[in-house]
């Protein structure tokens, strides 16, 4: 009888150990790629920003209110209009996404029957799967004309409609993350509240939500980081012009949009304007990274509570 594979394993040839080590090495290098990518990213941003900050003082970059890198005679590199622009768009988006997303999550986890939940959740996720250029189109050609009927002075490109469309795009992010966390609140806590005579609303408000609060906070932070990094909606609908002081009804520019502007512009490779995208990119990278780590940390801390 020919020996089967399993029998072979018992009489492992000497090469087998080497092969196993080799495979483990290959697999490890796949995982280690994450470290390499992060390190390379940080190195690129440090070296690239070095060129930028050799010419522009950090104080001017973070405190200046005039962003005009393409001005040939008097270029100015105050990134405050871009930073504030990013925060404004993010703020509007969160004002839209957090209430809708959170209340949707409460409905799905606390009120909906299992059948409704099964149907409603995937439909909500569709919103997350729609590419952001589509939201940009929607913001520019649907939301803005709609807003114009209420606010006649709103301009064709404006911060408000871009922010609203961005908010719609991140509703599913908020709802699905908070739903997971609200759903994970142990049943005993709810039953304890009911046993004390609380109604459903009182239970949700005083027991479930406080228990899930850290998770909701993590979801909000993650949504914020998504909104800060979002590019296409803003590039299409918000006008790509840095304005100071910023106005919701007027065009504005965000950090990400400046990067797109440089890439789609006609600046030659090696022109100083390319250095600006490293400084802006570094700022963006640091902001999103800090938010992501914060949210990751909150979620991990929270999960351990019930285990």
């Amino acid at each position: 009888m020919k020996p089967t594979t399993t029998l072979l394993a018992l009489h492992a040839p000497p090469g087998r150990y080497l092969k196993e080590r080799l495979i483990q090495g290959v697999l490890f290098s796949c995982a280690f790629l994450a470290v390499v990518v992060t390190a390379v990213t940080i190195w690129i941003f440090i070296s690239g920003s070095g060129i930028f900050f050799a010419k522009v003082p950090l104080g001017e970059f973070l405190g200046g209110t005039r962003w005009a890198p393409t001005d040939i005679s008097t270029p100015s590199y105050g990134a405050l209009p871009l930073i504030v622009g990013t925060l404004i768009i993010t703020g509007i988006a969160l004002l839209v996404a957090v209430p809708i997303g959170l209340l949707s999550a409460i409905y799905l986890s606390e009120f909906a029957s299992e059948r409704v939940r099964k149907v409603a959740k995937p439909i909500l996720e569709i919103l997350a799967g729609i590419p952001t250029v589509v939201y940009g189109y929607f913001a520019l050609l649907f939301v803005t004309p709609l807003l114009r009927s209420v606010l006649p002075e709103i301009q064709f490109w404006n911060a408000l409609s871009a922010g609203i469309a961005l908010g719609i795009a991140i509703i599913p992010l908020v709802s699905s993350l908070s739903e997971d966390i609200i759903y994970a609140v142990p049943r005993e806590l709810r039953e304890g509240a009911y046993a004390l005579g609380a109604t459903k609303y009182e239970t949700i408000r005083s027991v479930v939500l406080p228990a899930a609060l850290s998770g909701i906070a993590a979801a909000t932070i993650l949504a914020m980081s998504r909104a800060i990094g979002e590019t296409m909606i803003v590039a299409i609908a918000a006008g790509r012009v840095p304005t100071w002081p910023p106005d919701l009804l007027k065009p504005l520019e965000t950090l990400t949009v400046h990067i797109v502007n440089v890439a789609t512009g006609d600046a030659e490779a090696g022109a100083f304007i390319w250095a600006t995208i490293f400084a802006i990119g570094a700022l963006l990278f640091v902001m999103t990274l800090l938010l992501n780590i914060l949210s990751y940390w909150i979620v991990r801390r929270f999960r351990e509570q019930y285990e």
Binding site: Q24, C30, A31, Y137, F142, I204, S206, P210, I277
Partner: protein, 480 residues
């Protein structure tokens, strides 16, 4: 958890219960808002994509039109011209040439190109009754020569030379005649004479002769000039043909002729290559983290970094790709560079999904394999991976649909191109989302419509991809 005291609500139980119901309805209404937004979005896109059929029908019939603006009486006045001559088309056969102005469709005056498409969309029969004025003024007035009136000093426009086959000659104009006014519009220049003709014709409810007042040998005469020619242009209206044309033609300056061919090929190339790169690396990393890694600081770090890389904005990856691949490695901003950078973007997602899939395979499967003497790699390859594969592929497909819709990263990598060929691996390229972005930025009438049509195509592709993922999940889902 901190101690919480329940609020002491002294009101009746009925009120407190009603509050629960009310709150439930409120939360339910937010779900409805989300659904309503989704429906509004899709319906709005579909409505905007609808003129595509008429646009492609017009383009096939040779009516590639464009809206022109002239200053008239200190106001902006618009008219429509044929700006792309299509030889062998129905319009060419009817005698419509490049730069001819379309004045009427049936008894409707045309001011904007969108009106032409709307008329085609609502045609009662398959022919378009069209009235147009030649864009070449010599075919109507011959050569005009401005002269100064010796007595008054005013500019007068005289016919210098008039071919016998011209419309003016046939209507009774002769060389030497001075054009005074067309209908009630005074003629003040040779180019202006043609514009006056357009404006006068636009004021008529339907094609018909225009009253041209001339001065011949000191006498004023009025001549009926049939400047507007009419024809019935056969139109083939078909959604199938319109969609086929749209999917197979290249980008163009005219929205009726612009299509998605290069973008679709670019998108599929890009996503295919990305899948090729991301699958082995992603699965390899996931296997290492799930099956091999011991709990140590390095593993912890890798896990943390993967989660964080998943949250890095795509423009950042664009900068990395541009700097490392395009600049430092001299790879230029081509399809291959795009795919490699896109791989970096979706890799964290693929890894996270693959880890989840590996985790669903119960330990008993591993133990059984170990028990018969399999090595760790044999366990993974022959026992764990086959069971986890549907889950891994589902995760991969969902990540790829993200790549399919991604635009920001590729803009940085130079996929912002006007392409009229099918891109290869080492070519500059464009993809569907970027084509949409470019078309949204075009001011010309009709580009917003084809942008919507391209969005429909993109959403359809994503629907198929996600359908495939759901199919895989249902078909191969295993309960342990």
């Amino acid at each position: 958890m901190s101690a919480q005291t329940l609020p002491r609500d002294r009101r009746s139980l009925t009120w407190r219960k009603a509050k629960s119901t009310l709150f439930g309805s409120l939360t339910f209404s937010t779900i409805l808002i989300s659904f309503a937004l989704l429906v509004a979005l899709i319906v709005y896109i579909l409505i905007n994509a609808r003129p595509l059929m008429a646009m492609r029908a017009a383009s096939r019939a040779g009516l590639v039109v464009s809206t022109m603006v002239i200053q008239w009486d200190a106001k902006n006045l618009t008219y429509v011209i044929v700006n792309d001559f299509v030889p062998e088309s129905e319009a060419a056969r009817a005698g419509i040439g490049e730069f001819d102005a379309i004045i009427h469709i049936g008894s409707q005056t045309v001011y904007r190109s969108a009106q032409v498409w709307e008329a085609i969309a609502h045609l009662p029969q398959e022919t378009l009754p069209i009235g147009w004025i030649s864009g070449d003024p010599t075919k109507i007035f011959g050569d005009l020569l401005p002269q100064m009136d010796p007595q008054t000093g005013a500019i007068r426009v005289a016919i210098d030379y008039l071919p016998e086959e011209s419309l003016g000659f046939r209507a009774g104009l002769r060389p030497g005649d001075i054009l005074v006014q067309i209908e009630d519009i005074p003629v003040t220049g040779s180019r202006q004479a043609w514009e006056a003709l357009i404006v006068a014709a636009q004021r008529k409810p339907q094609p018909g002769p225009l009253a041209v007042q001339i001065e011949r040998d000191g006498e004023f005469l009025t001549i009926a000039l049939d400047a507007e020619q009419t024809a019935q242009i056969p139109i083939t209206r078909s959604w199938a043909r319109a969609i086929w044309d749209f999917l197979t033609s290249f980008d163009s300056n005219s929205p009726e002729r612009a299509g998605l061919a290069s973008a679709i090929v670019g998108s599929f190339y890009l996503v295919g290559l990305t899948a090729l790169f991301a699958l082995p690396i992603g699965v390899g990393a996931a296997i290492y983290l799930e099956e091999y890694a011991t709990k140590n600081p390095l593993t912890e770090l890798i896990q943390l970094l993967i989660v964080n890389l998943a949250g890095v904005p795509s423009v950042i990856y664009g900068i990395i790709g541009l700097e490392i691949l395009a600049r430092a490695l001299q790879m230029d901003r081509v399809l291959l560079t795009g795919a490699l950078t896109m791989t970096l973007l979706i890799l964290p997602m693929v890894i996270i999904a693959a880890r989840e899939a590996l985790r669903t395979v119960p330990d008993s499967v591993r133990q059984a394999a170990y028990a018969v003497g399999a090595t760790r790699w044999q366990v993974v390859r022959s026992h764990v991976l086959p069971y986890a594969l549907p889950g891994i592929l589902t995760g991969l497909i969902i990540s790829l649909s993200r790549a399919m819709g991604e635009a920001a990263l590729l803009i940085l990598l130079g996929a912002f191109q006007y392409l009229t060929f099918i891109p290869g691996l080492r070519d500059y390229f464009t993809v569907i989302p970027i084509q949409i972005f470019t078309w949204i930025g075009e001011a010309k009438d009709g580009f917003a419509n084809i942008a919507a049509a391209a969005i429909v195509v993109l959403l359809a592709i994503l629907l198929v991809l996600n359908g495939l993922a759901i199919f895989l999940r249902i078909k191969f889902q295993r309960r342990w």
